[in-house]
């Protein structure tokens, strides 16, 4: 079974530029999560989708971050415009609708200069 796929793996941008990350969850997983992991901290949930609906986006900085999950499968996370403090690893995870275990992708390391 293929795991959670993410791209790109690394991205370097200048502040005020835009960037987008892509995630393909495990086939059949209804729930998809985006986390932000700043160096030295644990992952922090940004947004959770159930199929193509948003379940929780309470910690998403909506003035600059947006996410969508079209057709309840792939998802994209966008930052526009980026700030220096957005430098982090962005992790995507998925889980079955009735399961507790979340399966994580390898992450995208974003550096904002």
């Amino acid at each position: 079974e293929a795991g959670v796929a993410q791209s790109p793996r690394y991205k370097i941008i200048e502040k005020r530029q835009s960037v987008a990350f892509w995630c393909n969850p495990i086939s059949g997983h209804a729930t998809l999560y985006w986390y932000q992991q700043i160096l030295g901290q644990g992952p922090k949930l940004l947004i959770q989708f159930q199929n193509n609906g948003v379940v929780d986006d309470s910690q998403l900085p909506k003035d600059r971050f947006s996410a969508e999950r079209l057709k309840g499968v792939d998802s994209t996370l966008k930052i526009q415009p980026a700030k220096l403090e957005d430098s982090a690893v962005y992790l995507c995870a998925s889980s079955p609708q009735w399961g507790y275990e979340q399966y994580f992708g390898p992450g995208t390391r974003l550096t904002v200069t």
């Binding site: 795991g3 959670v4 729930t31 030295g40 901290q41 644990g42 992952p43 922090k44 949930l45 959770q48 379940v55 929780d56 992790l91 995870a93 889980s95 507790y100 275990e101 979340q102 399966y103 994580f104 992708g105 390898p106 992450g107």
Partner: protein
């Protein structure tokens, strides 16, 4: 709201020595408890979990953790570590009432030395 405290940011240990990684949590509701491991340049992998039943849970690679409700702790232990155990370990909690929202600690870097 939930919070997780991992007091040790780094734990150096010699190979074949025992190790304990500490995790304490705070929550106003019942929670499930998890340990995730992150190897260099990889995503997080579930190491073990406590959902219900026996308070002592084990992983396939020799780690174990014990849920202590009175002390709100879920410490991770291994009697004899290997070089390949070098990684970052994250403790996390999830409310039992639904939502599947994980709250992570800040992580403990385990470095196994020869």
């Amino acid at each position: 709201a939930q919070s997780v405290t991992q007091l040790d940011s780094q734990v150096p240990v010699f190979e074949e020595a025992p190790v304990e990684l500490r995790c304490n949590y705070s929550s106003s509701v019942s929670v499930y408890l998890f340990w995730y491991v992150q190897y260099p340049n990889q995503g997080l992998q579930l190491l073990l979990k406590y959902l219900s039943g026996s308070t002592l849970v084990e992983s396939i690679n020799g780690f174990e953790a014990e849920f202590n409700k009175s002390q709100t702790s879920f410490h991770l232990r291994k009697p004899s570590v290997h070089i390949s155990d070098t990684a970052e370990y994250f403790c996390a909690v999830m409310p039992t009432g639904g939502g599947n929202k994980l709250t992570f600690g800040t992580g403990t870097q385990l470095k196994v030395e020869l």
